[in-house]
Amino acid sequence: MLSTLITGLVLGGTYALVAMGLTLQYGISRIMNLAYGETLIFAAFAAFLLFTTFGINPILGLVIILPVAFAVGYVIYGVMMQPLVTRSKKSGTLEVDSILATFGLLFVIQGVMLVAFGSNYTSYNYLNVGINVLGANIAANRLLAFALAVIIGATLFYVLTRTRWGTTIRAIAVNPNAAPLVGIDVNRTARFAFALGTMLAASGGVMISMYQTFNASMGVVFTMKALVIVIMGGLGNLMGALVAGLLLGVVETLVATYVDPGLTLAATYLIFLAVLLWKPAGLFGKAAGR
């Protein structure tokens, strides 16, 4: 039982890591980013390339990939999202516009990956050694992803709740219209949050590339898993994403062990639907919907 729980928590760590970037982008920048999973897969391919052609291991690879991802996110927001945000101030159609625009972006990134890397399954082995954690054999690479998720979660949570900048961000998440009244530059903060979200997606991609097979068409799987977790946790709530991600991991493992592995995904969606019906704004959401 204990080892099942630990396995589940570690699996959940991956989910949480993937979801935290999206919750930043969605909760703060108000962009429903359907191309999120593609960014993640792109980073996975980058890590794969660095590892196989240049012999740079994925952990060092993070040092290269993360700043690039941040810059890319910053540029994408500036070029693509900014005009939409500005326009939507009058029409209030940001949600639909961002769905459409990032849907296009999804195809572009996917197409570029197909041309550059082909459609084949890609995988490599790194740090695939068992580590004994309280009687459960856990792969070191998964453990690393779990640790990264917890560290990122804790750091961002601290920053958001204890610093002035964090208060700014939360103010925007709560009420983007009133934030400028107290002298907050909504645009700059939203852009920063979007770039940070892209960076988190990339870190998730690098981690996942170490132990999971991926191909250019797989991004949407991650986007959807992340969306489910983000909504369950409550929009823009990092702690919520972390808890919801871990919860899903534990539930999947418990169901696979004690009920039937065939029902793991069904259980995921069942829990998700149940949480929404019980708390329409997610586990940690305060507003009654938006």
Binding site: S3, G118, N120, Y121, N128, G130, A139, F214, G262, T264
Partner: protein, 409 residues
């Protein structure tokens, strides 16, 4: 105003219809042929792209390249016509693949159509191949219903066997090993909840029961599962010496990694699709020694090994060890049949059904429109995925069991 615009819309539709019809007739009236049009729809994007990009598409490209290098397809009169390829992406959607084949047959009026990838898609297009009179050489479709389909669609050919063939070959190996005292009679099986996995697990339940093998663990997992630790733990706890997974490529890769982490060492480790992929060998090195799966190659067959070398040189990666060579052989059969009967699809189909062909597999002849000279089980031995079943067929290697434990970490 409205009336006028409606009328012009109608006129435009009529014009479009005439144009469409016109294009059709133009294609037919071109008497002096300068090429043979061969078309196909394949999943270049979407969920099926990973499989199609290994087993099917590279072999189409290689074959077309080689035929055109040699001056084209040989006709009965000895002349050669180069192949002109029409390629569509079905985006892994049934509706798209159906429409693409309709387009190839009626709009582009190609001379021959190559098959899409996957059991479901081959079935989806089978009625169309039949209706438009094209021979269908279905390769990447494992189905026990092939005899039935042959009755229904006379020009369909099924080249990769059915689930029973594979599971019976496996249970025979297991029985032999049990008789030799290598393993116990307990088997733990997991399968992916998708066409391939279900077909094989249903067949396996039957085959194992017939053989008197005891299935102590039998579960199915959804497509997209990434963490197999719970299932591996349960399988290990079941005490079975044999672990079988009818899995898809991502699952096969994950299972291999996670079995090492969990130090799970069954005496027989049998995994599904993907075990024969080049990337599998590249990633896992010599750790794959002793792992078994579907398919296999007779490494002493020089024609096959030569094909593998050419494939690697032209495509840039080796073919897989199961379906690729069959795909290539099916194209050689088509090439040979065209050489004998030209572009008459009716005659070519009849020839495929009854003729004997010289392919990379050796002398190849279909029985009841199905290829039966197949390798149903293979094992990684010294860096090659060698064929071990059926053991009485010439070229089979003996399985080396029990599989050695994973190297210490």
């Amino acid at each position: 105003m409205t009336v006028f615009s409606r009328r012009s819309v109608l006129r435009a539709i009529g014009l479009a219809a005439t144009l469409l019809a016109g294009v059709g007739t133009a294609a037919v009236s071109a008497q002096d042929r300068t090429s043979v049009k061969i078309g196909y729809a394949i999943s270049k994007t979407g969920a099926n792209a990973g499989g199609a990009g290994i087993t099917t598409l590279p072999n189409y490209q290689l074959w077309v390249h080689e035929v055109n290098e040699a001056g084209g397809l040989e006709m009965p009169d000895g002349s050669r016509l180069p192949i002109e390829v029409l390629e569509y992406d079905d985006r892994s959607s049934s509706e798209e693949v159906v429409r693409a084949v309709e387009r190839l047959a009626t709009q582009d009026q190609v001379d021959f159509i190559l098959v899409p990838w996957g059991t479901g898609f081959n079935l989806a297009v089978a009625p169309l191949f039949d209706r438009f009179g094209y021979p269908q050489l279905a390769v990447s479709a494992v189905t026990d219903k092939a005899p039935e389909f042959v009755q229904r669609w006379k020009k369909s050919f099924w080249l990769l066997g059915g689930g029973h063939d594979y599971t019976e070959a496996l249970s025979k190996i297991l029985l032999d090993q049990q008789a030799a005292g290598t393993i116990n009679g307990d088997v733990a099986v997991i399968s992916v909840a998708d066409g391939f996995g279900i077909d094989l697990i249903t067949a396996a339940r039957q085959s194992f029961a017939d053989a008197g093998l005891n299935m102590v663990y039998d579960v199915t997992y959804p497509v997209g599962t990434t963490d197999f630790t719970p299932m591996l733990n349960e399988a290990a706890a079941s005490g079975a010496d044999t672990f079988v997974a009818f899995s898809y490529p991502p699952d096969t890769f994950a299972l291999t990694q996670q079995a090492q982490v969990a130090a799970f060492n069954p005496k027989v480790l049998y995994l599904g699709v993907g075990t024969g992929f080049p990337v599998y060998q590249a990633n896992n090195g010599d750790k794959i020694e002793g792992i078994m799966s579907l398919g296999g190659i007779d490494v002493n067959n020089e024609a096959v090994m030569d094909y593998r070398a050419r494939h690697e040189e032209f495509i840039g990666q080796a073919p897989d060890w199961w379906g690729s060579v069959i795909t290539y052989a099916s194209l050689q059969m088509l090439e040979e049949a065209i050489k004998r009967h030209g572009l008459d699809r009716e005659a070519v189909s009849a020839e495929l059904s009854t003729g004997t062909f010289d392919t990379v597999l050796g002398e190849t002849k279909l029985e009841d429109n199905q290829l039966r000279q197949l390798w149903f089980g293979g094992q990684w031995q010294n860096g090659n995925f060698v064929a071990v079943a059926p053991s009485d067929r010439e070229g089979a290697s003996a399985p080396i069991l029990p599989k050695a434990p994973w190297p210490a970490q």
